[in-house]
């Protein structure tokens, strides 16, 4: 694992992600203003380095006079938390389902995989709209919608990896020791497929942040006035030409976080690649 941090790309990615997480956690301390309160006289004030801007709103203000920087860091809380919870939930459910399907095989496997196929083919925007219409838009709902979208790749990967591991001798040896199937899955299969699943999760961070941003942009995600990066981009779409900072700054935040997560995920995948010779024998 330590070899991973030798790469400067990894260090930058981890630093950037760490920065955003820190900003999200310390939002109340960092934010210069109340993200929900705006003063109309500061409407569409540009960022400090542009003519007309001031240090009162370092990154500018939106069309309700709300401070962009404050909304950015509070929005980070929402975007990152929603993404993390969705990935965690989807990961746990998807992996469990996949492992059981791969280990038990037979009809269980076939049925589960058909359900996965179904889940993968479902249009998520429609699902999100449906959920919003039925249950009203809320933070919890958007997390659930995201989980429903995200779980199937874990199931697929967990199943594939389980099939690979199941053939290894130490599984047979556990059986001849008298171990129960659930013990084997938890103690032998899971630790050896976890790497692949973690890589998947890291690569999904990018997907889910963009997804949440898109849903919020469309109005079926995080409900206003709670700031989220997606809704912030949406808020500014009528002023893109004149007050570019309202959309661009949260957009850049999404870009940077997604890129960092992807770079980290790629590096992790390479690092955990079984083709890398780790033993000293060649």
């Amino acid at each position: 694992m330590t070899g991973l941090f030798r790469s400067s790309i990894v260090r930058i990615a981890v630093a950037v992600l760490g920065l955003f997480v820190l900003a999200a956690l310390l939002a109340p301390l960092i934010a210069p203003a109340n993200p929900m309160a705006g003063s109309l006289e500061d409407r569409l004030m540009p960022p400090a380095w542009v003519e007309g801007g001031s240090l009162r709103h370092i990154l500018g203000a939106d069309d309700l006079g709300r401070d962009i920087l404050s909304r950015l860091v509070y929005g980070a809380q929402v975007s990152l938390a929603v993404s993390a919870l969705a990935i965690l939930g989807a990961g746990i459910i998807g992996s469990t389902v996949g492992m059981i399907a791969g280990y038990v095989g037979g009809w269980t496997d076939r049925i589960v995989m058909r359900v996965v196929d179904l889940a993968l083919s479902f249009p998520i925007i429609m699902l999100a709209l449906l959920m919003a219409a039925l249950f009203g838009p809320s933070l919890v709902n958007i997390i659930i919608v995201l989980m429903i979208v995200l779980w199937s790749p874990y199931a697929r990967m967990a199943r594939g990896e389980t099939l690979r591991v199941r053939k290894l001798d130490y599984i047979d040896l556990a059986r001849t020791a008298g171990a129960s199937d659930s013990y084997i899955i938890v103690r032998h299969v899971l630790p050896n497929i976890a790497g692949a699943l973690i890589v998947l999760a890291t690569l999904q961070v990018g997907t889910v942040i963009v997804l949440e941003a898109s849903l919020s942009f469309l109005g079926v995600g995080v409900p206003p006035p709670t700031p989220s990066w997606g809704s912030m981009v949406s808020d500014g779409r009528n002023f893109i030409a004149s007050a570019w900072w309202v959309s661009l700054i949260p957009g850049l935040a999404v870009l940077v976080v997604v890129m960092s997560a992807n770079m980290l995920g790629d590096a992790l995948a390479d690092h955990l690649n079984p083709d890398r010779r780790r033993e000293t024998g060649l």
């Binding site: 290894l168 001798d169 130490y170 047979d172 040896l173 556990a174 059986r175 001849t176 020791a177 008298g178 171990a179 103690r187 032998h188 630790p191 050896n192 780790r278 033993e279 024998g281």
Partner: protein, 266 residues
């Protein structure tokens, strides 16, 4: 009669034979094992010799109850092993242990050596945590490793050492039979001799029986008391090791023996 601890009675195993359906293509029927009967006598070594396709690995798996025979029985202590109750099964698992060929896939890279070696003890319900630790230390010492190695992970060990760990695990529960499927085939020559010597030592000290499945005839007379030659799922010859190796009766055995390339000049 009580000296026979494990037996195969007319064991047959076929694979496939499914007709093509909408869900998949036809799978041809393959007979891996065809009416094999053998006895394993307490404290002795039975060699099971054959080439690929002989059924020797299948026989090993059936004796370990890893697969179910298509017909025939595995007898343990006189009873049909397939009909054992939970308690009987646990006894079986404690007393019949395997060692496989590949020391790299035999050890879970994410488990400590101590956890690996104590796994059979954990499931035979025989020992509490302290006793398990003692037994693990004792097993590791018996195979020429150190009790401190229990804390380390498989990745830190060489192929030969890993195979020793696998053997330590096999002897930890003090079994009556160890079924070894090509235990030294993937080891260097110099390591091979060490491991075979170790197995001999263990047998002498503990009186454990071995079923030694191998394609390597050169180790037969050293390791085995009796030898069964398998060819296309059937036992074509059976007898004392010295006898089979020097005066084979079946033509296949002769072919097999004459194919062995010895170092000595022809």
């Amino acid at each position: 009669m009580t000296s026979v601890i494990l037996s195969a009675r007319s064991l047959t195993k076929t694979f496939g034979g499914q007709r093509a359906t909408v869900l998949g293509a036809a799978v041809p029927r393959l007979t891996a094992l065809d009416g094999v009967s053998i006895d394993i006598v307490r404290g002795t070594t039975l060699g099971v010799v054959g080439e690929s396709g002989s059924g020797k690995t299948t026989l090993g798996r059936l004796l370990l109850l890893l697969d179910r025979p298509s017909s025939g029985e595995v007898l343990f202590g006189g009873h049909n092993a397939a009909t054992l109750d939970t308690k009987g099964r646990r006894e079986f698992r404690r007393r019949v242990q395997p060692v496989f060929q590949n020391p790299y896939s035999s050890l879970n890279p994410r488990m400590s050596v101590g956890a690996i070696v104590s796994e059979p003890l954990l499931w035979s319900g025989a020992a509490d945590r302290d006793e398990r630790r003692t037994r693990v230390a004792e097993a590791l010492t018996s195979v020429g490793l150190s009790p401190d190695d229990a804390r380390r992970f498989p990745g830190e060990f060489s192929g030969g050492q890993r195979q020793r760990i696998a053997i330590a695990r096999a002897i930890a529960s003090q079994p009556d039979v160890i079924i070894l499927d090509e235990p030294v085939s993937s080891q260097d020559i110099s390591v091979r001799a060490q491991i075979l010597n170790l197995l001999k030592d263990i047998q002498e000290q503990r009186g454990v029986a071995y079923v030694l499945i191998t394609h390597d005839l050169s180790i037969l007379s050293f390791m085995c008391d009796e030898v069964a030659v398998l060819h296309q799922g059937k036992v074509v010859e059976f007898g004392a090791a010295a006898q089979v190796c020097s005066a084979p009766k079946h033509p296949y055995t002769s072919t097999l023996l004459s194919s062995v390339l010895s170092i000595d000049a022809a």
